[in-house]
């Protein structure tokens, strides 16, 4: 069972979520502040970070950025505010997904599972390693290098790239990507896709403003290539 680090300042929520997830078999460690959470990170070595955005002192977005500086730990934001602004900031800071509070443990668990699920769409007969221009994608080792230098991609970024490059030149709508990559419903927040594409492009594209690998088809969605 995955090890989950929960950073949440409100004791009731912290305790409730911890209780709910532990009941479902997760190994949960809870921290009340961002600083405490970051401190627990090295020692607890979680598989996933559940991060409340509104924290006293160091806030969730700052924690998120700091984690992303040296780790591709999957991050799911907990947001009590439906404020779209926070969500966008959190996604840009590198969060892979978000959950709006209040949420039932089953919903949280579903999101955790989706983020942690290994992409296994390398069909039989497909070469394990594919090369597209400067990009080399290892579907088995789940590594991507650009011009020989390994890229550190967050789980959602990697999954998106793998999904798009599995069918080069095929157009995926944002709704389809939400369903396939994030395992959300068709109608979920398409900004998840947009934010993730933006982050991915900043890492793989030579020029993020005129993308080569992940291309936009206005009104339809995204596709990989053609190069």
């Amino acid at each position: 069972m995955p090890r989950v680090l929960l950073i949440e300042d409100d004791p009731a929520v912290r305790e409730g979520v911890e209780l709910g997830l532990r009941r479902r078999g997760h190994d949960v460690r809870a921290a009340g502040t961002g600083e405490a959470g970051l401190a627990a990170l090295a020692e607890f070595r979680p598989d996933l970070l559940l991060l409340d955005l509104m924290l006293p002192g160091m806030n969730g977005v700052q924690v998120c950025r700091q984690v992303r500086e040296h780790s591709q730990l999957p991050i799911i934001m907990l947001t009590a505010r439906g404020d779209d602004f926070d969500v966008v900031i959190g996604l840009e800071a590198g969060a892979d997904d978000y959950i709006v509070k209040p949420a039932r443990p089953e919903v949280i668990e579903a999101r955790i599972r989706a983020v942690l699920r290994r992409m296994d769409d390398s069909g039989p007969g497909r070469p394990a390693i594919e090369v597209y221009g400067e990009l080399t994608i290892d579907r088995v080792g789940l590594t991507v290098t650009k011009a020989g230098r390994p890229l550190s991609l967050a789980p959602s970024e990697l999954r998106l790239l793998l999904h798009l490059s599995a069918a080069p030149e095929q157009v995926f709508s944002r709704q389809q990507l939400l369903e396939n990559v994030w395992e959300h419903t068709f109608h979920a927040d398409a900004r998840l896709v947009d934010a993730c594409v933006a982050r991915l492009r900043s890492k793989i594209e030579p020029d993020a403003r005129s993308p080569r690998y992940v291309q936009t088809l206005r009104g339809f969605g995204y596709r990989f290539g053609p190069l």
């Binding site: 009731a12 929520v13 409730g16 209780l19 009590a80 209040p102 039932r104 949280i108 068709f186 109608h187």
Partner: protein
């Protein structure tokens, strides 16, 4: 927005309601400008006319007096140069009279003589038909020359009666009984008078024309502030409450502008206050929802624990625990809906439009709710309709309508999709959700989209948050669309959503 009663609001399209005030002003034939000009012209006309008329009358009287006096004294002089034996003899009289007539100055006249029964003239008839009995009486009664203007057959005549006297001594005269009359046409005087009239008219008309120029200028100076006022009023009406007018001068229009500015300031203040109060109320609702969310988040996280463990508790505790768990869930939904409504009220709701296949979007909505697994919901979704929608909000719209139909109407619920056009030509996406239930009571239709409106007073709140249809309507509006509630002739309620196919353009 102030939550006012919304009778019939959702049944009418947003556009095409305002009739332009411009059209009205153009139709106005007797506008302020016309009236001002008319007033100026009237004053100018009256003064010019009065002046002309008075001048003319004086001039005419002077002219006439001169002409008449000249005629009378000339006639007298002529007559005085003649001699008559008494009694006056008829023979030779005409000769004398013709002689007199020839000497007529400045124009010829016809001379008549009357003495006893003697009647003679320089013309064809011995007796004039123009001379009045009044003139005769005056001439015979008093030894004075006299005249009278007579119009006969449309011609103006000057008739002069000249009684004659003769000397009875060095200092005395005696009326001879002979009266001489001169009759002359006044045509020349008439012409003079006509000329005078023409002159007066020619003088008056340029005067009027000249009056038109200051009239126009004055009208402009009056109309400009009025026009400014109108523009300002319209600007206020369109919500720019800080509109003020520049006050110029010290006249009534300046007072009006002052009053307008004061009223505008007061209005701005009251509206500002009202908005503040409204914003406070809205913030409060929003804050309350926010504050409720955190404890709810904790509670909701443990409801599962309660539900699972309830089985091991004694029955009363188990019921209590299950009740708490169920109500916590409902409370979470209610708070979620309140949050959503607050966002709409704060205009914080954003439209994240994307071009989608509408049929697929609706199908996913139904699938996600597991409504297509049995025959409760029937969908007629033609393929190939693409529209710019916010998929999440459209999902809420469809889900709320279908959920509502399933709860309050009756299965099977039909979802129909088609495209159409508004009267303005905007292509729209039309989605109909119909059920086979008892329909909506006609009295309830105007309020069906109101918050917490319960069509059936006896209905328990368990049916939902009471905000579902209100949120649905707000979501449709955010797309620039309309939603209508009604009943089908064959029974059952139908909700019709019309959304422009290109939502972003419609709301832009």
């Amino acid at each position: 927005m102030i939550p006012l009663p919304r009778r019939g609001r959702n049944t009418e399209p947003a556009e095409g309601r305002r009739t332009g005030p411009e059209e009205r002003s153009r139709v106005r034939a007797f506008g302020l400008r016309t009236r001002l000009l008319a007033a100026f012209l009237l004053v100018a006309a009256v003064s010019a006319g009065t002046t002309s008329a008075l001048t003319y009358r004086e001039a005419r009287n002077a002219l006439l007096k001169t002409a008449q006096d000249t005629a009378v004294s000339t006639f007298r002089e002529q007559v005085q140069q003649t001699g008559f034996g008494l009694p006056v003899q008829e023979e030779g009289m005409e000769e004398v009279l013709r002689d007199l007539a020839r000497k007529g100055k400045p124009r010829p006249w016809v001379v008549f003589a009357e003495y006893g029964s003697v009647r003679a003239s320089s013309g064809e008839n011995p007796v004039s038909t123009v001379i009045t009995p009044g003139l005769r009486r005056a001439a015979l009664a008093n030894p004075y020359g006299s005249f009278e203007r007579v119009v006969k057959d449309g011609v103006l005549y000057l008739t002069i009666a000249m009684p004659t006297v003769f000397r009875t001594g060095p200092y005395d005269t005696l009326p001879s009984g002979l009266v001489l009359y001169a009759v002359m046409r006044m045509t020349d005087e008439q012409i003079n008078v006509d000329a005078l009239l023409t002159a007066a008219r020619d003088g008056a008309l340029p005067g009027l024309a000249v009056a038109l120029v200051p009239g126009l200028i004055a009208a402009r100076s009056v109309l400009r502030p009025v026009r400014e006022l109108r523009r300002a009023a319209r600007s206020m009406g369109s919500g720019r409450l800080d509109t003020r007018i520049a006050v110029r001068g010290n006249d009534e229009l300046a007072d009006l502008a002052d009053t307008f500015n004061e009223s505008a300031a007061q209005l701005e203040d009251s509206v500002h206050e009202l908005r503040e109060a409204e914003a406070r109320a809205r913030r409060f609702a929003s804050d309350v929802s926010h504050e409720l969310r955190t404890p709810l988040a904790g509670m909701l996280a443990v409801t599962e624990v309660l539900d699972e463990d309830a089985d091991h508790l004694d029955s009363d505790t188990a019921r209590a625990v299950r009740l708490v768990s169920a109500e916590t869930g409902k409370l979470a939904v209610l708070v979620e809906d309140l949050m959503e409504i607050s966002r709409f009220d704060a205009r914080a709701a954003e439209l994240n439009a994307d071009e989608v296949d509408v049929a697929e979007t609706i199908r996913k909505t139904l699938q996600n709710r597991h409504w297509t697994e049995d025959d409760r919901v029937h969908a007629e979704l033609p393929t190939g309709i693409r529209a710019r929608l916010d998929p999440r909000r459209f999902d809420v719209v469809i889900a709320n309508l279908v959920g509502n139909a399933l709860r309050h109407g009756g299965a099977p619920v039909t979802v129909r999709l088609r495209t159409g056009e508004r009267p303005t030509g905007t292509p729209v996406l039309i989605t109909e959700v119909a059920d086979r239930g008892p329909g909506i009571h006609p009295d309830s239709i105007p309020y069906i989209f109101d918050r917490f409106y319960k069509a059936d007073a006896a209905r328990t709140r368990s049916a939902g948050s009471g905000l579902g249809l209100a949120i649905t309507q707000e979501n449709v509006r955010l797309h620039g669309g309309t939603i209508r509630a009604g009943n089908l002739p064959e029974g059952g309620a139908v909700f019709t959503v019309e959304i422009p196919l290109h939502a972003e353009e419609a709301t832009a």
